[in-house]
């Protein structure tokens, strides 16, 4: 019994350990875009170059924790994550390395990539005011700050302050204007008793049902709904067009600091930034391509052009902690 038990236990241990060991692959990608579904752009890369891509999905925080814990031993070559703050954090933690690629610098606008070249946007999404077309006229809306006006009392739906895109919105505004005006704005929002709902799609449904009249939502959520139901009674309003421009955020990619297949990793990111791949991203999830040369999905093209806030999105990460503390101080839960 002894020998057999020992062998069995050892086998079990080895099996358990084996789940942690990575296999060798051409390019290993850690992607937080995995919950959007299969990425045709990555399949296209493999078809074009013959380089195999092994993809691991997870949410941004998990990937960050994992990369940090793995350190030099990471099998990952590329990190694709959502929200500029997450990219900034990853770069600051030393998880991403500098990429010197004139192609990427030409494809991606300056405010959508790291000033130090450690990460590059792949897609862009705007977080703007969305309103019920039957109850609100566009003339009534203007800026994010104007939502603090008492006329919106009880009519606003928001995500919680813990939601990373809420934090990024505040963070970029803090970078541009300083903390005081942003805190005034948030206090004004809170005074209007916003309804806090834990899903952008849910907020859209709440607006359509009449529970609230306006909300702050990422554009791709509305895109998804309008693609299935063009008569949905909610439309986007581009906030801050006369002032700072509408807040935008990104999903982006960077080469990891300890990548084992660096050249292929850079090739992958360059391909993903090319108009061909950008088209696939845009069509798949109703996002805006980061590369201005790519064309828009017809559903979102209907919304027209808008002025973006051209503060470098890295500020979403730089001022994230300040934004969180500001939200806590202002009572935005």
């Amino acid at each position: 019994m002894r020998i057999r038990t020992i062998v069995q236990v050892t086998a079990l241990c080895a099996a358990a350990l084996a789940t942690g060991l990575a296999e060798a692959a051409e390019v290993v990608v850690y992607s937080a875009r995995s919950h959007y579904g299969q990425e045709p752009a990555i399949d296209a890369f493999t078809r074009k170059t013959g380089i195999q891509v092994k993809s691991f999905g997870g949410n941004s925080s998990e990937l960050y924790e994992r990369l940090r814990a793995e350190g030099e031993r990471t099998p990952a070559d590329v990190l694709i994550t959502v929200d500029a703050g997450n990219l900034w954090n990853a770069a600051r933690a030393g998880l991403l390395s500098k990429v010197d690629s004139p192609e990427l610098q030409a494809s991606i606008p300056a405010h959508l990539r790291d000033p130090d070249g450690r990460w590059f946007a792949l897609t862009m999404r705007a977080r703007t005011i969305m309103y019920n077309t039957r109850k609100v006229k566009p003339e009534e809306l203007s800026t994010y700050e104007a939502l603090a006006d008492p006329k919106w009392k009880g009519r606003i739906c928001l995500r919680t302050s813990g939601y990373v895109y809420s934090q990024s919105l505040l963070a970029t505004m803090i970078k541009r204007q300083g903390e005081a005006p942003v805190e005034t704005m948030v206090r004004g929002w809170v005074a209007n008793h916003p309804i806090l709902i834990n899903g952008d799609t849910k907020i859209l449904e709440a607006i359509a049902a009449g529970q609230c009249d306006v909300g702050l939502i990422n554009t791709y959520y509305l895109g998804r709904i309008l693609a299935k139901d063009p008569a949905f009674p909610v439309a986007p309003f581009w906030a801050n067009q006369q002032t700072t421009g509408t807040h935008v955020n990104i999903s982006g990619a960077g080469v990891t600091a300890h990548a084992k297949n660096r050249a292929q990793a850079v090739k992958l990111i360059e391909f993903l930034a090319s108009p061909e791949a950008q088209q696939m991203f845009a069509d798949g999830n109703f996002e805006y391509p980061a590369n201005p040369q790519a064309s828009l999905n017809p559903v979102i093209a209907k919304w027209g052009k808008f002025k973006q806030d051209d503060t470098n999105v890295a500020s979403a990460g730089e001022f994230q902690a300040a934004a969180t503390r500001l939200a806590d101080r202002a009572g935005y839960k």
């Binding site: 793995e70 990471t74 709902i197």
Partner: protein
């Protein structure tokens, strides 16, 4: 959780001094038991050790802004759930034990069914049904006008109501057993001395049942403390939710561990409450109860009221949410939106749950048998320590497991790299072994209780006979005890299996890369408010959860 069993670590009365082996200094079984307990205690020690780290910026910020609110919210939630489950569970138990009304026999066991549904599943089913844009309120508005609204479900009241509906069976089961065990004699004495029926219930029955009621309520409160999915979906900020938020939102593992320590304090208090009340339960109902109380046959509106009350609770706690899930599952299946990876999801869940339940049973066997062979203080303490995990929230255990695993990894990795000759990712952190270990810490108590109770039914004379015929302890276990314990072992396996399947917070934090379980899938969908997509995995969990509930119903039936 099995109700009514003895607490861990108690040696059976086995009258075996005559042929007991002479006390060897240290038996292998004792060493094994103590070693198991020591290893399982490591996560809790790791969490507590974070208190030694200096208070970082995040902690100071939390202290200034949120901590008071988090503690208050947690206390209020526990108080609400405790009170709610006490009222509902005790009331239902009294109704069912002491009265006769139409449908009583079926309702008596059906009221246990909500145990099969995890709290976070009931939560999102109700939200989907009753929120502003959901079908009920939309219909209400169509019927009564746009001003018709229900009170906001995403609030303290909503969360407490959900948890009361899900956790009342803990109190119900224990109260029912307590009321049954009380004989007719005391009650009739009280009646003959002038008390009304209600008066006798309030002044005699309730106080005598207090230890069981307290035990049931503290179990419900422990579950409420550990809950992460429901409070997060409802936007109610408790300590458990903050642990996750601080770890993942603010990227500060140390602050998360420090928050977890505060949580541990709560858990410890609840654990003490539960142990103390169970201890006393043995003494208050020790002797034979004699004749059972004659139930009162209800008639007319009283009978109808009783049936409707029980039916309403059952409907709200089980039929409605499960029905809603079934409807959503049907819709997603018909529209072909069932996640393509569902098979893999199911496979991973089953595989992890099997591994965890097998390890739990093995460990439980070692602990119980060691306690039987050599009932020393050390082994008893080891048993209680090992079983403490069920009071500790999954999020805390996850934090506590990750710290030593990460430390081990950085020690082991250079060796592995040397052996394999290529860069190695993390071997232990985020591995299946780490996750199974966390499950073990959390759910060992469930297996230990069952295995111990099963072992205790075997008379000590069997051990003596085996010993006198020359069999060692191990051989006796294999040839005598295990075959006799088959039923108990199977039950222990099933209980641990299902608890692992339902577990979510620890799995969320510790899962291996690319591996998801049903519970985490439900969480991921509901955190994006995609109720319909969550329905199919949620139903799978409920179906699995029905297994131990059916077992629990059969056991409680045997009390008659």
């Amino acid at each position: 959780m099995s109700a009514g069993a003895d607490s861990a670590g108690r040696a059976p009365a086995a009258g075996r001094t005559l042929l007991a082996a002479p006390a060897a200094p240290l038996s292998a079984w004792t060493v094994a038991a103590v070693a198991i307990a020591a290893v399982l205690a490591v996560p809790i020690v790791a969490v507590l050790s974070s208190l030694l780290a200096p208070a970082g910026e995040v902690w100071r910020h939390l202290w200034r802004t949120q901590l008071a609110e988090l503690v208050l919210n947690t206390v209020l939630l526990l108080a609400g759930v405790g009170a709610g489950t006490l009222i509902v569970g005790t009331g239902l138990a009294w109704l069912v034990v002491n009265h006769r009304f139409p449908g009583r026999a079926a309702l008596e066991w059906a009221l246990i069914l909500p145990l099969a549904v995890p709290a976070y599943v009931v939560g999102f089913a109700f939200l989907g049904l009753l929120e502003y844009s959901g079908p009920v309120q939309t219909g209400l508005r169509a019927w009564l006008g746009p001003w018709a609204r229900l009170p906001e479900l995403r609030s303290y009241g909503g969360v407490t109501l959900m948890m009361t509906l899900v956790f009342y069976p803990y109190v119900y089961l224990l109260a029912r057993a307590a009321f049954r065990a009380q004989g007719a004699a005391t009650l009739e004495t009280a009646r003959s001395l002038g008390r009304s029926r209600l008066g006798a219930f309030l002044t005699i029955t309730l106080p005598m049942a207090r230890p069981s009621l307290a035990a049931g309520a503290s179990l419900a409160m422990m579950e409420a403390l550990a809950d992460f999915g429901t409070v997060s979906t409802f936007g109610y900020r408790t300590l458990t939710e903050a642990v996750y938020r601080v770890w993942y939102g603010m990227f500060d593992r140390v602050a998360a561990a420090q928050l977890a320590s505060v949580l541990l304090l709560f858990a410890f208090v609840l654990l003490l409450l539960e142990r103390a009340s169970r201890g006393r339960a043995r003494f208050t109902q020790g002797h034979r109860p004699g004749r059972e109380v004659t139930p009162v046959a209800l008639v007319g509106w009283r009978a109808a009221a009783a049936t409707v009350t029980c039916g309403a609770v059952l409907g709200m706690a089980f039929l409605l949410p499960v029905g809603q899930l079934a409807v959503w599952a049907f819709i997603t299946a018909r529209e072909g939106r069932v996640a393509p990876g569902f098979g893999a999801l199911l496979g991973h869940t089953l595989w992890l749950a099997s591994a965890a339940s097998l390890c739990a049973c093995a460990a439980a066997l070692v602990l119980s048998y060691a306690g039987r062979l050599r009932p020393s203080r050390a082994v008893r303490f080891a048993g209680q320590l090992a079983a403490m995990g069920y009071a500790v929230p999954g999020a805390v255990i996850a934090v506590g497991v990750l710290m030593p695993l990460a430390w081990l990894d950085h020690g082991v990795a250079p060796l592995l790299e040397h052996l394999s000759g290529r860069p190695v990712g993390l071997a232990l952190t985020g591995s299946a072994a780490g996750l199974v270990f966390a499950y073990l810490v959390r759910f060992l108590a469930v297996s230990v209780q069952t295995v111990e109770a099963s072992l205790a039914r075997i008379p000590g004379s069997f051990d003596d006979a085996a010993r006198s015929l020359g069999a060692g302890a191990g051989r006796a276990l294999r040839r005598i005890h295990l075959p006799l314990m088959r039923g108990g072992l199977l039950t222990a396996l099933i209980l641990a299996f299902v608890e692992t399947m339902k577990e979510m917070p620890a799995t969320l934090l510790l899962r291996p890369f690319g591996i998801n379980t049903l519970a985490v899938e439900v969480w991921e969908r509901t955190s994006e408010a995609m109720w319909q997509e969550a329905a199919v995995p949620a139903l799978a969990i409920v179906l699995a959860g029905l297994l131990p509930v059916v077992l629990a119903i059969r056991w409680s039936g045997k009390d008659r």
